[in-house]
């Protein structure tokens, strides 16, 4: 923890106020409030593009203990809009670390607040649901904060993916590989690409609005739909492209937002969850194999379970053991499947990496 005497204020959309101390950049920030229960991997979480537009509460009480390291990122910049924690640490300890969390947040222009009763705050979010909030270490007038907060858009119906998707195409992996994957990027995490490249794939990453004809020019063996932030239903262009991809009958794998988009492309609606799933300990059962896996999750939208079950051509493959939510689906007549959770993890358990093997097998057969 710091001994910063500069006060910071957190105001929620429902009027609740929490006080704490300023950390990171001195300033003001708004976003949708959410919490992550993971106990390791804060830097990977902060740089995960799926957190775009969100102000994150870390439930774990000490954050920053092992500093930051260049390799431990999921994208090139910090993607969260703001950070809330009980104790943010300036002093860190790790031989391999490059610097402190404090300097890192300042360099990335991230406003943070510490000393907050995060447990009370999380209980509030759990009860009242996701809502917008504002953190400020410069404005002390609550009325002024309220008017600033009112400018923050509602997450429902928001296309955030286009903003974090790559602007230019790029390629990774062995260019001579016969295993070629065309990736649609909605805010992809680096380690998803690593997991594909490690398995011998040559990948080309495309902006979210790329057309099928352009994807096909890569002559891919399979298609991949990435994770990403925001409301999947706000991406009709991507849903159309996925419908066209499905007509190609090539292997298709989707993660998180990619999973929701695959559902939407099959006319299964998605919905905004009460407060989402974010953490490294979510229990999932593979109902095909009967085995269980501890998964990393980060999503505020889900696919409609009833519509999935009624669908003649879609099968549930994975279920959440806590709340029975849909964690994985596959098409009965096509080599297409997707999961709501993050098999690439980082941070989180490696239990589900087999899904990348399955995808590779599918492309090879």
């Amino acid at each position: 923890m710091t001994h910063s005497t500069q006060q910071a204020i957190l105001l929620l959309a429902d009027g609740h106020v929490f006080y704490g101390q300023a950390f990171g950049k001195i300033g003001t920030t708004t976003g949708e409030l959410c919490f992550n229960t993971g106990m390791t991997g804060y830097q990977e979480v902060f740089t995960d593009p799926s957190y775009s537009g969100q102000i994150l509460i870390m439930n774990n009480v000490h954050i920053g203990n092992y500093g930051v390291k260049d390799a431990d990122v999921e994208s090139d910049t910090v993607k969260i809009r703001g950070l809330i924690a009980r104790n943010l640490e300036e002093q860190f300890s790790r031989f391999q670390a490059k610097g402190s969390l404090s300097d890192y947040l300042i360099a990335n222009n991230i406003v943070a607040i510490e000393g907050v009763d995060t447990r009370a705050l999380v209980t509030h979010v759990r009860t009242k649901g996701a809502m917008n909030c504002i953190i400020s270490s410069e404005i002390t007038d609550i009325e002024k904060l309220k008017s600033e907060l009112a400018k923050c858009p509602d997450m429902d119906g928001l296309d955030l993916a286009s903003g974090v998707s790559t602007k230019e195409e790029y390629e990774l992996g062995d260019t001579s590989s016969t295993l070629k994957v065309a990736v649609l990027d909605f805010g992809i995490k680096k380690n998803i690409l690593n997991c594909l490249v490690e398995r011998g794939a040559h990948v080309r990453v495309h902006p979210a609005n790329t057309t099928l004809s352009r994807l096909k020019e890569f002559n891919p063996n399979g298609y991949f739909l990435s994770n990403g932030p925001g409301d999947p239903a706000a991406l009709p262009f991507a849903i159309n492209t996925i419908k066209e991809i499905l007509a190609e009958d090539k292997p298709l794998f989707g993660i998180c937002l990619g999973h929701q988009l695959l559902a939407l492309a099959n006319d299964i609606p998605t919905f905004k969850m009460h407060h989402g799933h974010r953490g490294l300990n979510h229990p999932v059962k593979n109902i095909i194999s009967g085995l269980c896996e501890i998964t990393t999750q980060n999503h505020g939208f889900g696919v409609d379970p009833e519509a999935v079950r009624k669908h003649a051509n879609v099968e549930v493959t994975h279920l959440n053991l806590n709340d029975d939510s849909i964690e994985g689906i596959r098409l009965k007549d096509k080599p297409a499947f997707s999961v709501q959770y993050h098999p690439e993890a980082t941070p989180g358990p490696h239990d589900s990496r087999y899904l990348f093997d399955d995808f590779v097998k599918m492309m090879k057969s």
Binding site: V61, N87, N322
Partner: protein, 548 residues
Amino acid sequence: MPIDNSIKSVLIIGSGPIIIGQACEFDYSGSQAARSLREEGIKVILINSNPATIMTDPMMADKVYLLPLTVESIEQILDENQIDAVLPTMGGQTALNLCKEAEELGVWVKYNVRLIGVDVAAIDTAEDREKFRQLMFKIGIKVAPSHVANSFLEGKEFAQEIGFPLVIRPSFTLGGTGGSFVHNKEELDSALERGLKASPIHEVLVEKAVLGWKEYELELLRDKNDNVVIICTVENLDPMGIHTGDSITVAPAMTLSDTSFQDMRNQAILMMRSLGNFAGGCNVQFAQNPETEELIAVEINPRVSRSSALASKATGYPIAKIAAKLAIGYSLDELKNQITRTTSAYFEPALDYVIVKMPRWNFDKFKGANDTLGLQMKSVGEVMSIGRSFTEAIQKACQSLENDAVGLGYYGKSLMKSEEIVEYIKIPKWDRIFRIKDALMQGVTVKTISQVTGIDKWFVHQIQIICNIEKEIAKHSADTLPNDLLKEAKKNGFGDDQIAKILHGDCTDEQVYEKRKALGITRVYKMVDTCSAEFEAKTPYFYSTFEN
């Protein structure tokens, strides 16, 4: 496939006398297991030679035998009762050794009793250092270079080969009995002799010592379908070289990155899955090279232990209770989280607080005993504290030791000069944490302390925070103490009594209490709920803390 209906009665073997080296953990786990099995309608018969336990209370089991823990006693019980299965994983090494002895004599086969929760081969592999080493080699997990010696001469030969510092670890002993560090040639002979003598099979492991590496423990559960979860990750504040039972330990791990933790998690799961065929709890210990983050496996214990009892209390996840259910055939996804009652037992607890376990020694009652800490556990008990920061938790732990410690630092302030203290803390003794605080108060740097003790500097920094607050408080009397400072002190675990002692002028703890009460700086109560408040808890427990 849920419960195995062919099991109608189970024999639980207790751990016998509670000795130095234990913390009543087997009484706790045995009681939990008995309750857990009876809940399923299974008849529980219990044997323990120690009547001074909760598990031998008449209401805990259907039938309690207070008999010596011998094969004869087991045969007597099997003669008198129809027993379908024996659960040996709740009584520590004592129960496992007895179970193994009975197995070798063919007792279980004779009476048609199934061994549940573990198999004998797994016990052997975990306890026999050479078998363990070979298994690790087979599955590609690094261990410290070592050799098994069955004679004094062999031991000496291997010691020459491996080089100093070394560890001598006797096979099949509890709490590190008979084990020791050997820093040079002069210490070798007596250490070898002691080790061979302590082992029931006259066998020791001569092992390279990884002194100064960081030590971590993982508590795992595995079911018959090979589902594995990590219940708790515990970081030892004290580095390798001090028995875990004598180390100050912290949960969750404080200085572990996700890459390193996942590496550890993957290795632990692989180790547990390759260790025979059993369902239940397991503890795996690792040493981590702080520079390279390279790991070596230290040991695996396929049973509930002192650390699983701690992990249960630390997370709210009742390991022994669930382990007993796994032993009778349930899989983790068929069971519910016992605290939330709505979510799955197949999950990994998330903590939104810090746990500190601090051992309690009684060297004043053992005059002449060597009070240097090492491989053999010397503490006679332990306290566990919960706080919303490490500083709060460690101060609460110090306050709970039932000695004169009033928080961290009021344990008879040392009269040593800083250079003397730096020398003193090089050797781990029971009062090292207090002397580290003294050193920081005298201006010794965090870096120096970390270097000479091997304690990660993050922890030393945290103690520095406590010192800084103490120095600030010391500038004031009760009247001039600023409100923010008082609040800060309470949030960092300072007791009213401790603050009163630090303030100058005559001040009592009542005065501090009245002052903070008037300012509204009062306790709030938080839950231990296994899930960091993500879900509503039905049967949580509480701890007190201070928030804004």
